[in-house]
Amino acid sequence: MIIQDRMRVTGQREIAKNIFEMKLTGKLVGEINSPGQFVHIRVSDSFEPLLRRPISIASIDHQANEMTIIYRAEGRGTQLLSMKKEGDEVDVLGPLGNGFPVGETSPGETAVLIGGGIGVPPLYELSKQLTAKGVTCIHVLGYQTADVSFYEEEFIRLGETYIATVDGTKGSAGFVTDVMEKIGDGFTTYYSCGPMPMLNAVQTAYTGKRGFLSFEQRMGCGIGACFACVCETTDKTDKEYIKVCSDGPVFPAGVVSI
């Protein structure tokens, strides 16, 4: 169920250049049911900035009633969020959207998780849940540069991890697709989150494979009412369009027209 919760900040630290990891506690955590769902955060109690900020959930700890979000402090809203301190309260709406289907990969099978930049965080909780049920995860993480890369250690703990940076300052130089060529196609499913051009390249490279993509779109309400985040579908027979916030953000590969 979607709830509005005043969550308490239990931790905030800069884990890479302008990339923040924030921990929040509150009853909303109990409502999260799949990796890849997101929350919609009001960064100020005033009307400036006005709209909420959609941020993906990187990790869930049901026992501690705590969730971790990772975001880039880029605009005014996320900069304000990055100034919140331990003990501060934040107005959070969520959990929103439909996450990655963990059940699509069976124990003993292998999944490839491909993330780009600030699209990497939801793959962490996904990998935790997949590996916990006995799926072998291979991670391919792409960043612009070494100084904005994060969570390498955390992913390595869960499985084989490849890093690519555009400028070659960490891992191999180039894009995630360059790494994908090397790891071959001995896997059952793939899961990906990142910028649209990356999702398109991943989907094209893995044509014929079963995959799930998480999309990012400029959002208004986050719950499906405002029609800001619509995308056309490739096969218009069932639905002509989808709303990224409430129908997604995760869709089977091939459904959304990129």
């Binding site: 009001r42 009307f47 400036e48 006005l50 208004g220 309400c221 499906g224 009412a225 619509v230």
Partner: protein, 304 residues
């Protein structure tokens, strides 16, 4: 006696608070969050004769205390609304105000005729002010004669009272208001969004794919208040006021300016529970003001 009750043509409102058209879809998303029967009314998303996909994305951009949108009247079309959306809303005890949009008189008339026969549609809101579609919409809302004629044509076929939604993007909104009143309008809803633009800092290009969008949110409230204040003094028909309503104090301002009821738009995106929160706060606000019945506040600003 319900202190918040308001009676308007076609509408017995439990309270004067209703979500504004385009900010509430057809209610389903908010129906998951709270009981829609709490609302005074619901202004559903604009319905056109044929279904519309709307404009390319990006469709929204944030601005100082506001936002621009250019959704472009995306909706499932008259048939979809009649067969799916309105029957779903019948489970709630709440009057529906159907926002009717079109590109020419004939399709406004056709949509109005059919949709006004739905059992839960108690009034129409004639959309002559959408700034985000190429034909129709705002072109009817900026010319008094055209606004008058369209109102008269829709009045002729509608089974329920007709409210006309005015655009602030005109030289003198009073002229349009008087024209639709003369055309037979039962009420006025105002204001629609103000046309605006935002540019990308790096590229200098417009952020919104449609280039321009409609500005809404707290930033537009002073403009809306001024226009409600003016129009309410030159027409006899009631006004449903809107434009940046985000908290209970804003409702009081719109009533004082001359509106009889108030619609909440963009604030639903900021806080999806804002309508029930305002409804809950209103009685204590009335106590604070020493007012028994909410309608006593209507037009306070005129009594100088």
């Amino acid at each position: 006696m319900n202190r918040l009750a308001v009676e308007l043509p076609g509408l017995q409102l439990k309270n004067p608070i209703m979500p504004a058209s385009g900010c509430f879809g057809f209610g389903k998303e908010y129906g998951n969050l709270y009981d829609l029967s709490m609302l005074g009314a619901i202004m559903i998303k604009a319905t056109t004769l044929d279904k519309r996909f709307g404009n390319p994305t990006p469709r929204v951009a944030e601005t100082a205390s506001g936002m621009l949108n250019a959704i472009g009247l995306q909706n499932p079309g008259l048939q979809g609304v009649m067969e799916n959306e309105l029957p779903w809303l019948e489970q709630y005890d709440v009057p529906i105000i159907a926002n009717v949009a079109g590109t020419e008189t004939a399709d406004y008339v056709e949509v109005a005729k059919t949709i006004s026969m739905a059992p839960n549609v108690k009034a129409l809101e004639l959309n002559i002010s959408c700034p985000n579609v190429k034909c129709g919409g705002i072109t009817f809302g900026t010319n008094p004669q055209q606004a008058h004629d369209l109102t008269a044509a829709v009045k002729e076929v509608s089974e329920v009272p007709v409210y006309v939604k005015l655009s602030p993007n005109v030289t003198d909104i009073k002229e349009i208001a008087k024209a639709v009143e003369a055309g037979g309008a039962d009420g006025i809803t105002m204001i629609n969004t103000l046309v605006g633009m935002r540019l990308d800092q790096k590229t200098g290009r417009p952020v919104i794919a449609n280039i321009t969008g409609g500005l809404s949110g707290p930033a537009v409230k002073p403009v809306a208040i001024k226009m409600v204040y003016e129009v309410s003094q030159v027409v006899q028909i009631p006004i449903i006021g809107m434009g940046g309503v985000s908290e209970t104090a804003d409702v009081i301002d719109f009533l004082s300016a001359g509106a009889s009821a108030v619609a909440v738009g963009t604030a639903n995106f900021v806080d999806p529970f804002i309508c029930p929160k305002i409804i809950e706060e209103l009685p204590s606000k009335l106590d604070e003001l020493g007012v028994n019945q909410i309608s006593e506040l209507v037009g306070r600003s005129h009594r100088l």
